[in-house]
């Protein structure tokens, strides 16, 4: 925040109060629920796939690849920010007149059926060029921070709680939004002296 207040832009002027507030609002809006829903998607996948969870516990070095593949497979942020066509164009045979708003689906791109192997999860996939953080000049600027947060949480969680499962009787409900998340994911795990 100090940097925003003191930095020079456009050859010497300071950011206006409105610009600073809008940058901070974007930081908050873009950086908060995106990471939490990504964690919800990943932890839910690990609950549903004990062999993946066990791989993470037995081989912590596999974590980076697991995160990338599940970001691709789950695509927690399903759509990129809307773009507006600056000229008449066409995408895969679909005409897009100038001025049209286009909402690209990152989830569809990540599961592109023309890409071999895209329809299966491969936690040791070599090609990690997914578009979970978008692409082009407006790609997610927070991707580096998001990856760090995901790694820290998953590493520390599994170091302390390597085995866990969904609480009995719970049905996972996804939020109906372009941000795929789970409002409540109650987990249980065994501790010395009984169940918690």
């Amino acid at each position: 925040m100090s940097f925003l207040l003191t930095t020079d832009v456009e050859g010497g002027r300071k950011l206006t109060e409105s610009e600073v507030l809008r940058i901070l609002f974007l930081l908050l809006a873009a950086g908060l629920d995106t990471v939490t829903i990504s964690l919800e998607c990943i932890v839910n996948y690990l609950v549903e796939h004990p062999e993946a969870r066990q791989m993470l516990v037995d081989d912590p070095d596999s974590m980076d690849g697991l995160i990338e593949e599940l970001l691709r497979w789950e695509s927690p942020v399903m759509g990129a920010a809307a773009r507006r066509a600056t000229r008449d164009t066409e995408l895969s045979g679909c005409p897009i007149p100038a001025g049209t708003l286009v909402l690209p689906s990152l989830a569809a791109a990540n599961l592109d059926p023309d890409v071999p192997g895209s329809q299966q999860v491969d936690l040791r996939r070599r090609d990690k060029s997914h578009l979970a953080f978008g692409g082009g000049p407006h790609r997610c600027l927070g991707s580096h921070l998001a990856r760090m947060e995901l790694r820290v949480v998953l590493r520390e969680w599994h170091r302390r709680i390597p085995e866990y499962r969904l609480a009995p009787g719970v049905t996972v409900e996804w939020t109906p939004s372009s941000l795929r998340g789970i409002d409540s994911l109650p987990l249980v795990w065994d501790v010395d002296g009984g169940n918690r």
């Binding site: 990690k128 060029s129 578009l131 953080f133 692409g135 082009g136 991707s143 580096h144």
Partner: protein, 63 residues
């Protein structure tokens, strides 16, 4: 092998210099740059992997 990053395509995802810090690094704005275009054989595999993970397909390799 020889490696190059197309600065017109690179958007600073940072995947290359995280994966192969012996070959790539970041510039002041976070964009990927090549440390030494001529990559020794022991780093060739990493370099190809970095090419694979680049979402912008900005990395080119010549044998």
């Amino acid at each position: 092998v020889r490696v190059a990053i197309d600065p017109g395509r690179c958007q600073g995802h940072g995947r290359c210099y995280e994966l192969a810090p012996e070959v790539f690094t970041d510039d002041d704005s976070g964009y990927g740059t090549v440390l030494e275009p001529e990559v020794p054989a022991e780093h060739a595999a990493q370099t190809r992997e970095a090419q694979n993970v680049c979402p912008e397909r900005a990395i080119s390799i010549a044998d």
